[in-house]
Symmetry: C2
């Protein structure tokens, strides 16, 4: 349960909370597997790519540039030194296409921000590549409803505590809304703030978290972003 | 000339102001040209690479991941579809080596921050890849002297104005110290704040600015970072 009365700032995760994102990565993974067909079956290609993504996080962080370099590393491994220039180019182009993908807002996202913006300070808190995330926010047109944009290298307790200090608010005055148990819910509840979990159809395997670990206090699970309007 | 009395916050650029950076890129460019020798002379390889960097800025932004993808694009162009898997791997490894490069602080950088930290709020304002820049700051050990770290996607008037708003200070209370006329000096002077220019031995061609365009008001040029201690 949650005490709504204290809330002053509502922070939204971006990818897969305000707009579709993970489905684009899934489609790109399929395209990658097609390019890898001369060297590997789909299942193996996916497995090698996913392992490469996790392995490279400390080095490359998150975002499409990192993902492009992960695909190249995976392709070099899968092809055992036989990757052609044409295949390299195709993989790089998959990344470029991903960067240029149009933003597809979730149903009700704009309406919700517009409405809540009248009563609360609205913030977007996202993880990943600075330029990519800023560009997506501006291209989404949602920036007009935002008081602040925070791009973090990791969404952990320390990052959220720093944000609250910056916004000059107490934990009970902060509500985070997102689709990742690991990044949007658990660290926020741990610092004593509020969290709303809205599962998305697609979630990156790395962000999958155990829902059973979520404490009931200060927490709510919703199906759609527009439900926030009725509650808050 | 500059009126020091009002200054409350001193913001330092990071790369080539606090530590060596551009020389590492220059060395990597040389390594890249060596890999390209089967396809191109050094002069042409450098030219194609530099053009690719500028062309890709809107897509990739700044930082080592962007630079790695720029090198790959340039290599694909120079080799006319003949780039081998081994060469691709070598280029990716140049990027990884660059990310892992140890931080070499400039003479007097730590001493200067330590001293100024007693009287002013110290901030680092840098451009580029969020994870890369944060990691460099933590690895440098200078984070202990910092009130705030700001990684911007572009260092322009709007970004500095936003930072001042966040820090809740007036332009005359802000001093920026850096090596790039284009990113650290001109936009800062344009919003009415103060700027100290410390040229570095190496500056990225894209950051080169015309010194003759710098107005004298609120501006100072120094040779070394430690000279700040004597003045402030």
């Amino acid at each position: 349960m949650m005490n709504f009365k204290n809330i002053k700032v509502i922070s939204f995760d971006a990818d897969d909370t305000l707009w579709q994102n993970e489905n684009l990565f899934r489609r790109t993974e399929c395209d990658f597997c097609k390019i890898m067909l001369p060297y590997s079956k789909k299942e193996k290609a996916i497995k090698v790519l996913w392992n490469m993504e996790v392995k490279n996080i400390p080095l490359y962080g998150y975002g499409i540039k990192a993902f492009t370099l992960d695909m190249l590393d995976a392709a070099l491994k899968l092809s055992k030194g036989k990757l052609t220039a044409e295949e390299t180019k195709q993989i790089i182009n998959l990344g470029k296409k991903l960067i240029k993908s149009p933003i597809v807002l979730f149903e009700g996202a704009e309406r919700t921000l517009k409405k809540l913006n009248k009563k609360y300070k609205i913030v977007v808190t996202t993880k990943g590549d600075l330029l990519e995330q800023e560009n997506k926010i501006y291209r989404s047109g949602l920036d007009r409803y935002l008081h602040h944009i925070e791009v973090m290298s990791e969404k952990n307790k320390a990052s959220y505590a720093r944000l609250l200090k910056e916004l000059n608010i107490k934990p009970q005055e902060f509500l985070m809304v997102g689709n990742s148990v690991k990044s949007d819910i658990l660290p926020v509840l741990e610092i004593g703030a509020n969290a709303v979990f809205i599962p998305s159809k697609f979630t990156w395997f790395y962000e999958d978290g155990d829902e059973s670990k979520i404490p009931a206090k200060n927490f709510l699970k919703l199906k759609e972003i527009s439900e926030l309007i009725k509650i808050l």
